[in-house]
């Protein structure tokens, strides 16, 4: 006999779907099938069952080979590395639960680490813009129940957040949106003809790197002022028309992604996008939301918010929290050789950081905590495989609209495997022992 677990939360992207059904074996040890998930989400559940999965920590040897070590040895190495370092970097935190993030923060406080999450190469620029100008936003249910104008700017949910459009933004029938997608006008702004653009009513194919100009042109158009004939590759008639579409809506939502946050202009693009949203509130109701990537990158910003007051790039090395993106952000620290040890949990900088930064990780004492073998584990001195959060252990995660949802444990981890939280608790205890506090 098999068992079906319902209302399962998908620990992949910031959409944080919570309606999955997972079929497990009677003894709860094997995960057999996944329903309702997108292809990526289903794979996240299924590959936890891989037969060749690593289940014990391992340490890099002089000759470059790996040697299996015990969890105790891994805890000792990690605690020693963090306490010996003058300024360790503790990076990642986006694919784990808030409970682990909170314990990691306590360790960071004791050892004087720099705490940074994946926002540093993703929506960190959005967080900076919010500090400049604020952010009128809403929950995804407001979008589902009210929005009749939907903008995707520099993002491609068809691939990156596959169920976003059907659960929240384009297709669902909500309370005031009984017609579903036929009652909504969808505008996609993207230099590429993406799959998301193909379902849009309007695709504004902006010139690459010209988002700021186009956003600014919208603000001009709202006021009915004069535009040049072409802005950012878009004829002014199309801009006026799109601006009118937005102004005439009952509820406008703008979703934006890395196309605007990490292209030319960075946080200034987001400043302007938020200003567009503020302006629209003079005419109708409008909200804006970053399409957060990892399923709990939002949560790490929340945990650090209430513990330290800053959402990323938090430097604890002086005994109190400092925040200065550009100085206290991971890549800047690595580039300037300002950190002398690297701890990675719940992220893969090896795949996403510039190669120069990855080399710096390779040159230092380093630990990667990750259920998978990744480019990061390949450059670290110690790799600690752990249970999958949201599959083999529960815990809190925050959706892209900051709604916290408790993820579920659906299947037992392999015998004797630790969770992020258990591992960090042991490291914390060992750090306290070493420091005598």
């Amino acid at each position: 006999m098999t068992k079906t677990v319902t209302d399962v939360i998908c620990p992949f992207c910031g959409t944080l779907c919570d309606d999955l059904e997972v079929v497990v074996s009677d003894d709860g040890k094997q995960l057999l099938e996944v329903y309702n998930a997108c292809a990526i989400g289903a794979e996240k559940f299924l590959h936890s069952q891989a037969k060749d999965r690593l289940t014990r920590p391992r340490m890099r040897q002089e000759d470059g080979s790996w040697k299996e070590i015990s969890y105790d040895e891994a805890i000792e190495y990690t605690a020693r590395m963090l306490t010996d370092a003058k300024k360790p970097l503790m990076y990642g935190w986006s694919s784990t639960n808030c409970e682990a993030q909170a314990i990691g923060s306590e360790i960071g406080e004791l050892v004087g680490a720099v705490m940074d999450n994946t926002a540093t190469v993703c929506h960190g620029t959005s967080l900076i813009a919010v500090q400049d100008i604020g952010i009128p936003s809403c929950t995804l249910g407001e979008v589902k129940n009210r929005a009749d104008r939907v903008v995707f700017w520099g993002c491609n949910p068809a691939h990156a957040h596959p169920r976003h459009m059907s659960r929240y933004s384009i297709f669902p029938r909500g309370f005031f949106t009984g017609k579903g997608h036929t009652g909504r006008k969808v505008i996609v702004v993207d230099p590429r003809p993406t799959d998301t653009a193909s379902v849009a009513d309007v695709h504004l194919q902006v010139e690459q790197g010209r988002d700021y100009e186009l956003l600014n042109a919208f603000r001009v158009a709202f006021k009915g002022e004069q535009l040049p004939d072409v802005v950012a590759g878009i004829p002014k008639e199309k801009i006026y028309e799109a601006a009118e579409t937005l102004k005439s809506g009952r509820f406008v939502i703008i979703f934006f992604g890395m196309g605007v946050t990490q292209s030319l202009g960075k946080n200034h693009n987001i400043d302007e996008a938020i200003a567009v949203t503020r302006d629209l509130n003079e005419y109708t109701k409008a909200a804006i939301m970053p399409m957060r990537g990892h399923y709990n990158v939002t949560g790490s910003g929340q945990v650090w918010g209430w513990l330290f007051g800053f959402p990323f790039a938090v430097d604890l090395s002086r005994g109190f929290a400092r925040y200065n993106p550009g100085e206290t952000t991971s890549n800047d620290l690595l580039a300037r050789d300002e950190v002398d040890a690297v701890f990675v949990l719940g992220s893969d900088p090896g795949a996403h950081f510039p190669f120069n930064s990855v080399k710096k990780i390779y040159d230092r004492p380093s630990v990667a905590i990750d259920p998978h073998e990744t480019p990061t584990t390949e450059v670290c001195k110690v790799h600690v495989p752990v249970a999958f959060v949201g599959v083999e252990v529960g815990g809190c995660a925050y959706r892209m609209d900051n709604v916290p949802i408790e993820t579920r444990k659906v299947v037992e981890p392999p015998e004797g495997m630790m969770t992020d939280e258990e591992f960090l608790k042991r490291v914390l205890a060992r750090v306290k022992e070493i420091q005598g506090v």
Binding site: L127, C138, T139, E142, F176, N281, K285, W306, F308, E406
Partner: protein, 568 residues
Amino acid sequence: MAEYLIKNGFVFDPVLGIRGDKADVAIKDGKIVETSALSSPKVIDATGKTVMAGGVDIHSHVAGPKVNVGRNFRPEDKLFGYKAKSGIERMQGGFSVPTTIRTGYNYARMGYTTVMEAAMPPLYARHTHEEMRDTPILDQGAYPVFGNNWFVLEYLKNNEIENAAAYIAWLLRATKGYAVKVVNPGGTEAWAWGLNCENVHDPVPYFDITPAQIVKGLIEANEYLGLPHSMHVHANNLGNPGNYTTTLDTFKLSEGIKPKSKFGRDQVMHHTHVQFHSYGGDSWANVESKAKDIMDYVNSHDNITIDMGQVTLDETTTMTADGPFEHHLTELNHLKWANADVELETGSGVVPYVYSPSIKVCAIQWAIGLELALLAKDPMRVFITTDHPNAGPFIRYPRVMKWLMSEEARKQQFDAFKHKDKVIDATNLAGIDRELDLYEIAQMTRAGPAKALGLSHMYGGLAPGLEADVAVYDFNPNEPYAPDDIEKAFLNAEHLFKTGVQVIRDHEIASNGNKRTLWVNAKVDENPQVMRDVKEKFLRYYTVTLNNYEVTGHYLPNPYVIEVDATE
């Protein structure tokens, strides 16, 4: 547990009716006991010092999503004031929106031991509890917001009090909430379309119900359940010149309703931060105090309690579930604006604000708050708050006490205003010479709020049997003092006990205490219609499933459940 005897202090306790007489306070097993019950206590010499019960804050925004928006979007709030970790104290930052760690420690330093989070969006209850869990020392509870909730709007439109009550009971259990909070009834739902409800008869778009119906219905549902606290309201039309009529209209909705609660409170409506709701005039040019009209009503109706919402003349961060108000505010001061509308339930906004003594309106607001407390006939029904952080950070409570206790301190502040004469013309404060004493302060900060919360069996006094929450201040009320001595002493308790644990010793944090989270479990008769409605709404309109909604388990590591039986 250790026994303590706090000897020879000047005790101010409205519960026992002690007005500064010398008395001893005995602590055993976490409770106040008779001194004869102690065997070998640790003696704290409180000679020449002031002894009171731990403070109780009935309304403060200290945990949850909008508080964290305030923290994360205001790095400037952490400038200059960050405190490094030291001993058992973790690092602490932030002024108007402090980190959770600082929130716990700073309340403790002021001698406060119980703090109620004033607005919890139900969908974000988990977040609110996570923050409360990480706030040391304090006993806390949180009020879920109901005034713009679709279930409530639909039930009350048809005057279905019993169904509204069953839904309230369900939501309190699901969110582990403490009381029924109402913020800009109907107005925040209207704000989801960019609109507002500007008075109690302004109908809510689509739902076709008025704020008056919502408030009255929620009072009735609250009394149907017999909850510990009354309905707790922030009325429509906050912060606008001439709004005092809306406030009086809201007060009047409680007329003729008597409390039906076994928890000992006398009110059926608590109206919060009334300072923001006591404005006359019809523009910012002629705005004036209507505190007299407001207090005439409050003084003559004993089924109402209020708190001040005192402006402290600081740079602060405003945050409220009153979404349209925050939009109005950002248009006024052009500072950054965050907004977060919450599906089916509520909304909120956050905007920084500078209450400058050089701005006439800010000074008028300052005067109005103090007038409310100084015109109060019954200090057991008028409480000190700053609506933290909206009118000012809670760390200014001792300064508010100073203003209330000293006419000289008020005069000094008047002299510091740029538009002193205009402020005096628009307010009554300069003509009020009342100076509150410490007994009245204890009523406004301890016994009064504890009673209004339905928690007088636990907090607010020093009678045997109550929780051993006791503060000792280095302040001798019988010696001459300067006004600033009051602020200094009450900002920095010499000793503090929380349920019998000494959390401050000689002005230093000595323990992180044994923090509890209070919530109300109201039992009602089975109500299939409400449960069907809940299932239906989750299926069709929410974006989380019903089974993922309830807050349970480790979010409340140390819960304290107050049981209410409303079954028939």
